[in-house]
């Protein structure tokens, strides 16, 4: 599928995001990798429009991403994949509000969080399904890793559904690194450090894998290297 418009929001976008409208049948890809400040992004989709959003929210300071996504026409589709990573004493907040205001729309949100040292991460994700947004399909998953005893993550996936013929699911997990994986890799000769690095890169790599452009994917990988 060809993409009609690609937006990349990096550091230099400052403390703003922007509003983007995707016209009927058009597609948008939006990538965001900022490290500080508050960034508000609004995406409005008309009938049959498609948007893919991939973000890395990595910070040692204060960082907030706020996505407001409006599905206003039937058959619109949104994919949102992101990683939030709070390091040192940083706090990273990601808020998403995904509003299904039209029938037959689909959305899929996969957000992964990693907090190390004294980092704090928040994922506040709302999926709203309006009364006439029948046949909505909405999936939302939040998976999180705490890498130190002082790290914290708060996750709040929320579904607010006013239509009766929909398929929606959400889930959230918060856990620690899988020690079985670390043991397995060390048994093959990897140092403990390499094993932990690889396990973490796998965890965030499944999100980054949604980026088709190689150079951009490499930029994300670099950003997410702990």
């Amino acid at each position: 599928m060809s993409v009609d418009r690609t937006i990349i929001l990096r550091e230099e976008c400052g403390s703003c995001g922007g509003s983007y409208e995707v016209a009927a049948g058009q597609s948008l890809e939006l990538y965001q990798l900022c490290s500080e400040g508050t960034h508000k992004v609004c995406v409005t989709l008309a009938a049959g429009a498609h948007a893919k959003i991939v973000f890395a929210a990595v910070s040692e300071a204060e960082l907030e991403y706020d996505y407001n996504i409006l599905l206003e026409g039937p058959e619109a589709e949104v994919e949102l994949y992101g990683v939030m990573m709070a390091r040192e004493s940083g706090s990273v907040r990601v808020r998403t509000a995904l509003r299904h205001n039209a029938p037959h729309c689909r959305s899929n949100q996969q957000v992964r969080g990693v907090a190390s040292e004294r980092g704090y991460g928040l994922y506040d994700g709302l999926v709203y399904v309006a009364p006439d947004a029948q046949k909505t399909e909405a999936y939302q998953q939040s998976r999180n890793l705490l890498l130190s005893p002082e790290a914290r993550i708060q996750t709040q996936p929320q579904l607010e559904i006013y239509a009766d013929d929909v398929k929606c699911s959400h889930g959230a997990t918060v856990g620690q690194m899988n020690e079985e994986q670390i043991y397995y890799m060390r048994q093959r000769g990897l140092s403990e450090e390499d094993a932990r690095r690889l396990s973490l890169s796998g965890f965030v790599g499944e999100i980054v894998a949604h980026i088709d452009d190689e150079a951009l994917r490499a930029e994300f990988e670099e950003k997410l290297r702990n």
Partner: protein
Amino acid sequence: MLKVKNLHASVDGKEILRGIDFEVKAGEVHAIMGPNGSGKSTFASVLAGNEKFEVTEGEVEYDGKDLLSMSIEERAREGLFLGFQYPVEIPGVSMANFMKIAVAERRKAQGLEPLSAGQMLKYMREKAAVVELDSKLMNRAVNEGFSGGEKKKNEIFQMAMLEPRLALLDETDSGLDIDALRIVATGVNRLRSENNATVLITHYQRLLDYIVPDFVHVLYKGRIIYSGGKELALKLEKEGYDWLIGDYKE
């Protein structure tokens, strides 16, 4: 190559291994059998250095070194390989990437130059062919979405890649159909040499039809209570363990 003396180990304060004596020389194949819960997998895990278990007594000498003072990865780099009963899935980490690092570490410990990207690719294909493993799996995440048979073949593939001195195969035969079992066994047999040794941990005589051991040991309640030649496995298959363990029951 391996000398285990009076090895005791516990998990959560419960003693599982209660004084194991065991010796393996280069070129040998040993089979360790025994009823469920007798400590077979624990023994393999302790030799691999699994930190879940605490060694409370005993010594293990491996190629003249004190194995118990080595880290998990030092043991692996020195050629100790454990084939897992339940191979672990590592989402997002490709087999190719994982093997690249593992092989580089093993070669470094052997004083060998690292392989070039091209050599590595060729080496992986060669070794995958040994266990009839589809080399397309190299681009997939480690064990993720692999069938039961593929996971076990993947263990033997990794063993082939790392060319261990001592391979411990923990229930590698469990859950395999007869074709996969034959492939796995053929792989193990092809990797046998007079410089390395294999320890098979198994429930069933079946595997030993394909990989013929030099010695068979019975582990029961954390001790090796009986050792014999390959004919012991057949006797156990026919008669069970009761004739052996009667004296040890509490």
